[in-house]
């Protein structure tokens, strides 16, 4: 079936550094999402993105976070600067539409460890 690819699968960085997580969504999808899962906790919605704009974001989407998808390339999540509490697995997802046409397809996750 359709696949969402995430790069890297695991990244370890020092607190205060910048990190970019990359997502290659399903080719004809129009909506893109990031979810965050801290170890042992529930997966939580961060942000969704459509037509070059953030449509909705949660309180977890701090000012240090940003997303973009320049010209149909990777959909990226950038954190600058990182903090210890940013350590988590970040899941990218995409969908063709919303509502009944909005089935989400998820990637395998990018595990971020901030030291």
């Amino acid at each position: 079936g359709p696949k969402v690819l995430q790069i890297p699968s695991h990244q370890i960085i020092d607190m205060g550094q910048m990190v970019t997580l990359n997502c290659d969504p399903v080719s004809n999808h129009l909506y893109f999402y990031w979810y965050k899962q801290i170890l042992g906790q529930q997966m939580e919605f961060l942000v969704n993105f459509y037509n070059g704009k953030v449509m909705e974001k949660s309180k977890l989407f701090k000012d240090q976070f940003s997303v973009e998808r320049p010209d149909g390339s990777y959909f990226t999540l950038k954190i600058q600067p990182t903090a210890l509490e940013d350590s988590a697995v970040y899941f990218c997802a995409s969908s063709f539409g919303t509502g009944s046409t909005g089935q989400l397809y998820f990637g395998e996750g990018s595990k971020l460890t901030v030291l």
Partner: protein, 116 residues
């Protein structure tokens, strides 16, 4: 605010036995409900989804779930579990309507182990 509770963090069943994974939701309005599965080293995959209509929905690989408004539940069932069902199962709820942009609220997940 909407929430999802999966009361069982871990369930162990014997291969061939029946299975029920529990999910309770808290939601104001008509929810759209989902079960996702995450196999080892893979992303989440949709098992089945409920949109308002028939309360029993069929999914892939013999899974089904039943929506109960009175119990605020959406339990997942399978008549005969296979070893390949060993995975983590997530229940999720969303507004689902056009314009809601698929903002899913997930449960904590239930880790299913299958014994031979």
């Amino acid at each position: 605010a909407q929430s999802v509770t999966q009361p069982d963090a871990r369930v162990t069943v014997s291969e061939g036995a029946s299975l029920q994974l529990r999910c309770k939701y808290s939601y104001f309005g008509t929810p759209y409900l989902f079960w996702y599965v995450q196999y080892p080293r893979q992303g989440l995959q949709l098992l089945l989804k409920y949109y308002p209509g028939d309360p029993v929905v069929q999914g892939v690989n013999g899974f089904e779930a039943e929506f109960s408004k009175s119990n605020s539940s959406f339990h997942l069932r399978k008549a005969s579990v296979h070893w390949s069902d060993w995975a983590v199962y997530f229940c999720a709820v969303s507004l689902g309507r056009v314009g809601s942009f698929n903002k899913l609220t997930f449960g904590a997940g239930t880790r299913l182990a299958v014994c031979p």
